[in-house]
Symmetry: C2
Subunit: 330 residues, 2 copies
């Protein structure tokens, strides 16, 4: 997150073979990852709608349902876990680079394409367009749509704006490069409305979510550069909330002055907690997560820990403090 966006000024080059393969296709299957986020759904739907403008027959699948806040996306109602019958000329994985991330064992398609900005270990596909420096898969699809010669209409623009906006943390992460802002300008010109998107994605919290946040913050603990927010089963019961209401709680813990790592612990069983860690950049929380069998990225990682809340808190705090110590002694 701390790298400069200014180093990525160049225009994004779309591989001509990718453009040609999509042009030549007739029946396309678009798939994305489990627990789809804004970039996954926005990119998948933006591509789906754009390919349909070209006369293609396109289906879009996700093993998991579309989260409530993304159901306003044009085409969201068509995202289905069911793989349609018959063969497909092309399977496009969007915002993920391996079949495993889709939650399906196999997906049909004569040729496999990948459009993603995450680096993966297993390299699925006949043709992979993976740009780890791209702000979002949404920005990549935006450039692909232009390369395909499809005019950006309002529906496609809304999908791609949501993809780009959510994946840059609302233009807050360092992945917010100049080309991301310029792409957003074109999307807004094409009819994406920032306030409409905001209302759906960021101003549609459930009342229960804020009540739950209240209880969690009231019991938040801090140890120097680490803040820990926890949600327990009794808090869910007292507020009528569910785990879906805890999105971004980890970011909240990080948002405190002087805090390097924010931790969110969510009870998932009598003696089990799911931990989400968010770093401001100086601590690699992926390495911390590996110590208890989890994983993730430098600034966002997590895993599952067994024990009472007190035990889990002590374990993860020790792991983060070790990492902080390593950082400070460098």
């Amino acid at each position: 997150m701390l790298s400069s966006g200014a180093s990525r000024v160049m225009m994004m080059k779309v591989p001509p073979e990718l453009v040609q393969t999509l042009r030549d296709s007739r029946r396309v299957l678009v798939a994305t990852h489990i627990n789809p986020d804004g970039d996954a759904l926005g990119s998948a739907l933006g591509l789906t709608l754009a390919l349909r403008r070209m006369g293609k027959e396109v289906a879009v699948v996700d093993r998991d349902p579309v989260p409530r806040i993304y159901r306003f996306l044009p085409g969201a109602e068509e995202v289905s876990p069911e793989i349609p019958e018959g063969d497909f000329d092309v399977l496009v994985l969007v915002d993920c680079g391996e079949i495993e991330r889709t939650g399906y064992e196999t997906l049909p398609g004569q040729r496999g394409l990948v459009i993603d900005h995450h680096l993966t270990e297993r390299n699925f596909g006949d043709l992979r367009w993976v740009l780890s420096t791209a702000s979002s898969t949404g920005e990549m699809v935006f450039n692909l749509v232009k390369a395909l010669g499809v005019p950006l209409d309002r529906d496609v623009a809304v999908c791609l704006y949501v993809a780009l906006f959510t994946d840059t943390g609302g233009f807050r992460y360092s992945s917010s490069c100049p080309s991301a802002y310029r792409a957003a300008a074109e999307m807004v010109e094409a009819g994406a409305e920032p306030w409409e998107v905001t209302e759906h994605v960021y101003e549609s919290h459930s009342f229960q979510r804020l009540a739950l946040l209240g209880k969690a913050l009231d019991r938040m603990v801090r140890h120097e550069h680490v803040a820990i927010i926890a949600v327990t089963d009794d808090m869910y019961q007292a507020t009528g909330s569910t785990s879906e209401d805890t999105e971004n709680f980890a970011n909240m813990a990080r948002s405190i002055e002087g805090i390097e790592v924010g931790i969110f612990l969510r009870q998932i069983g009598p003696n089990a907690f799911k931990a989400s860690m968010r770093s401001k950049g100086r601590v690699n929380v992926a390495a911390v997560a590996e110590r208890f069998g989890g994983g993730g990225h430098h600034n966002a990682a997590g895993g599952i820990l067994q024990g009472t809340l007190e035990e889990v808190r002590a374990t993860i705090l020790k792991a983060v403090e070790d990492a902080l110590g390593n950082h400070q002694s460098r």
Copy 2:
């Protein structure tokens, strides 16, 4: 907030007389409004630094101190309540259009200029550049700096990025027009770092703030389309927080699904509360505020109410519900 940004695609024209007056000046005083926000400080400092690059002698005043989260702005340490001695060729009011908003009775300057995107009743100044459709004063100053022929360096870019980013609600409000994104792209190219800005402005909450938010959310009440968050003196005491820790609490109340107006009540005396209202756009809260002697904009307004928390809650709820009724019966 609900108007489309797409209607404001045109380039911003900077009045040539404004450019000429600044070019001809030698000693400039820059002033902005009381309780300065990101747009006020970012615009004032961006203009100050750019004029200095031109060899001008520039002082920047604000009657109120720079809030903690904006103290990282280049030049922030020079913002002073003291008006320097001697005469000034030019006084520039930035992000406000009348002397009253600066908190000073008078300010020195042979000519008075205004650069603002708010419409005002009293029209101060010899030369006013007021664009109510501009995303922010920051975007106006960005165009002015270009018209003055000053290269955008990192320090100016950071100031103007903070101005633009904070005043568009982080590109969430409908004031986020295409030209705002394009200006931001140039600022990031010039060295403004989105994550650095975010860390200072949005990820530097005090621990006390989140503890206070916890208590306030735990006691939040909802009446159909209205949510009310209140902070009382005993909550400040229990958490060691102050009124400075309540920024954005009103937005938090608005961010709930189905809520049209979010209200934040902050105790300011034994029997007095300051009310802040935020509307999603369908209710004009400025009109509501006028009913109890307050004021503001369509989507953000407030005022002071006397009474116990229960009395104040009932009064303001009644006023908002009347407005909602008027809206729904239209």
